[in-house]
């Protein structure tokens, strides 16, 4: 996997998630960060830090990105959300416009 094709998402605790850029683009917010003109640190290094999102939630978000890609390609599976994660995940999803 080439470095340009991936992005690193960093959680509040500093946990790093390296995922495909294509998957990360499911989030409108990340898409804007990575494609906006000008030299944002995010655009240059392909790294985005989320001081408000915990590792547990960020992991779930990454899973959702990949699930969403597959879903859009016609693979109809269910995306299960544990009830105890719903609130935090909802807030993160709201922030990420995903």
């Amino acid at each position: 996997m080439k470095k340009e094709d991936t992005v690193k998402l960093i959680s509040a605790e500093g946990m790093e998630f390296v995922i495909d850029k294509e998957a990360a683009m499911v989030s409108q917010t990340i898409r804007n960060m990575l494609t906006s003109p000008g030299s944002f640190a995010e655009t240059e290094h392909g790294e985005v830090t989320f001081p408000e999102i915990s590792a547990v939630i960020l992991e779930k978000i990454c899973q959702y990105f990949y699930w969403s890609l597959q879903y859009s390609r016609g693979k109809e599976t269910e995306f299960y959300i544990e009830p105890e994660l719903t609130l935090e995940l909802m807030m993160a999803a709201n922030y990420l416009h995903t």
């Binding site: 978000i61 959300i81 909802m90 995903t98």
Partner: protein, 599 residues
């Protein structure tokens, strides 16, 4: 209270959070997270819990720091206990309790001293009386208040004069007198005032001039005959009034946008529109009115919505509609004397027309070719007409030409009503090529199983009514409905049995069936979820088309009973049990009828 459009994952999270009482228990202790929830998310969550029927009073507490708007319209469970929790909502700005029949004065005591509350809707909470007004007076921030059809008297209304920030006040159906209206003069910020069915007279109408910002006024069903000029008025409803003169003034003409004179009697028809600035009018409703002449129409160049139903409009006046045809989007000619010849005059002059009702007119199949040349039509009501679906070419008595085929030209046609026409199965076939058709209504005792067969290929059909037809069990069994179908109304198809319907429901769980044998409970739930949005409800009451009191309901009730029951059955129904068992009961039927009409 339109919800912000949610992103996909947010929607899924809310669904997961509202799946069951157990899932609620998993998150309800996450207090700090709940307090941090952006208000639009917690509102969505709250409304979804309500819709899923798993919201209970003590659960409300978790929302007290985040929710700003709450809509509990028609929720019969909402009582004093709910209100006790809601009273503690720190940032609550808007509270809708319309049709919550358990709300009474002591329940509203919880609202005393709320500091953020700006909007309260108590419409039709019948147990709310003058004592509630005293509670409301403590909320000095109130800007919008709806108390129509409550138990509040003239004395209670008079007290409202101290709520100086009020800009919207709905007093519909309350016994407001001229004296009381006089005492409300202090409400100088009023923009919207609903006084339908009140006791005000011409004397009270003079007071209205003191409300210098008034832009919306509803005085339907009152004794006002002379309305003085109100220079900022944009919407006026004087339905069912006897009108002598309105807005008489030569200089300062009101910038009217909407005018509703449904059922009005004009004492001086020639001068009815003399003082009205009609150039900017976008809606005119003169249905059921006493008007004979329509020569005022050509001036209304911006008119989009014209309701002439049950008026004296006839073919000889259609030329006047043609003059303003370029801007028209909605045209209701139902119950008029307009015939196919009139539609021929109209054709080609209404490029933007989306909605056309010709029900209860004498139009026949000739009109269809003219209707099909109105390119933007989305909704057509042809019910109760002489439409047959075919035409005999002169001289060829044996050869039938299909007329419904002409509707295939209408690229945007979404909704078609052919109830109580003479259209038979074979003539329906051309409709199967109407690609956008989502709603189709048929009601005729001659329709058979073939009807269902013809319609199974409609790619966007969501709602299908085939009522009082001779559909058979095997016909229903072999019907392969379009995948988009969500509602199938088979009321009055008397050959269908409970077994056949439940088999169909099991095979197609996504389709809601309406039929006499379907349990009443599921229908009730549907009506709750299908309830019209607040704006639609307000539009309805503000239009004042529904006569104050319960008259419309009892009318429907009588009609329904006569149609559905024999004399013996009616006699046995004289003392019905208190619980609603009959699917014909008015309480169940009415919301459906209304929502149909709103569509």
């Amino acid at each position: 209270m339109e919800m912000e459009k949610e992103s996909e994952l947010v929607r899924r999270c809310i669904e997961a959070a509202c799946r069951s009482r157990e899932s609620v228990e998993k998150w309800r202790r996450q207090r700090r997270t709940l307090e941090r929830l952006p208000s639009h998310l917690s509102q969505s969550l709250l409304q979804n819990l309500l819709r899923s029927r798993i919201l209970f009073p003590s659960l409300l507490e978790v929302f007290k720091y985040s929710v700003e708007e709450i809509d509990l319209r028609g929720e019969n469970c909402v009582d004093a206990e709910w209100m006790a929790y809601l009273g503690a909502f720190r940032y609550l700005r808007s509270l809708n309790l319309a049709d919550c029949h358990r709300i009474n004065n002591s329940a509203l005591w919880s609202l005393v001293g709320m500091t953020s509350l700006k909007e309260v809707d108590l419409s039709r909470c019948m147990k709310v009386t003058d004592a509630s007004i005293r509670h409301l007076l403590s909320i000095s921030t109130l800007e919008k208040l709806w108390i129509s059809e409550t138990g509040i008297t003239a004395n209670g209304v008079a007290l409202l004069s101290s709520l100086k920030n009020l800009s919207v006040l709905d007093l519909g159906g309350l016994p407001v007198t001229d004296t009381v209206l006089n005492s409300l003069q202090a409400l100088t910020k009023l923009q919207h005032l609903d006084l339908w069915g009140s006791k005000i007279s011409n004397k009270g109408a003079l007071v209205l001039q003191r409300f210098s910002k008034l832009s919306f006024l509803n005085i339907a069903w009152t004794n006002v005959t002379i309305l003085p000029n109100l220079s900022s008025l944009e919407c006026l409803n004087m339905s069912n009034c006897t009108i002598d003169s309105i807005l008489e003034d030569d200089d300062d003409k009101a910038p009217l946008v909407k005018l509703i004179f449904a059922g009005a009697t004009f004492m001086n028809e020639a001068e009815a529109f003399l003082y009205i600035e009609t150039r900017f009018l976008s809606l005119l409703d003169v249905s059921n009115s006493s008007l004979n002449q329509f020569c005022f129409l050509p001036d209304m160049k911006m008119l989009e919505h014209l309701d002439l139903s049950s008026s004296m409009m006839g073919d000889d006046s259609v030329e006047l509609i043609v003059c303003i045809g370029a801007s028209l989007k909605i045209l209701n000619l139902s119950g008029t004397k307009v015939s196919s010849a009139g539609i021929a005059i109209l054709a080609g002059h209404v490029p933007k027309l989306e909605f056309l009702s010709l029900s209860h007119t004498s139009i026949d199949d000739v009109a269809l070719s003219y209707v099909s040349s109105m390119p933007s039509l989305k909704v057509i009501d042809l019910s109760n007409t002489d439409i047959k679906g075919y035409i005999h070419q002169p001289g060829t008595e044996l050869h039938k030409d299909s007329t419904l085929a002409a509707l295939q030209n209408l690229r945007y046609l979404e909704n078609l009503n052919l109830e109580h026409t003479q259209v038979r199965d074979p003539d329906l076939y051309p409709l199967s090529s109407c690609k956008e058709l989502g709603h189709l209504s048929l009601k005729c005792a001659s329709l058979t199983d073939a009807t269902l067969h013809h319609l199974s290929s409609l790619p966007k059909l969501t709602n299908l009514r085939v009522c009082e037809a001779v559909l058979t069990n095997s016909g229903l069994d072999t019907f392969s409905p379009p995948t988009t179908l969500r509602m199938l109304d088979l009321m009055g198809c008397w050959l269908l049995t409970e077994d056949a319907i439940s088999t169909f429901t099991r095979k197609h769980p996504q389709i809601e069936i309406r039929h006499e044998v379907v349990q009443i409970l599921s229908t009730e739930q549907q009506n709750i979820s299908n309830r019209a949005s607040p704006s639609q409800l307000r539009l309805k009451t503000s239009r004042g088309n529904n006569k104050p009191g319960k008259v419309p309901i009892s009318q429907f009730f009588v009609v329904d009973q006569r149609l559905k029951y024999s004399r013996e059955e009616l006699l046995s129904l004289q003392f019905p049990p208190l619980t609603l068992q009959s699917p014909h009961d008015s309480g169940i039927e009415i919301p459906k009828l209304q929502s149909d009409r709103l569509n």
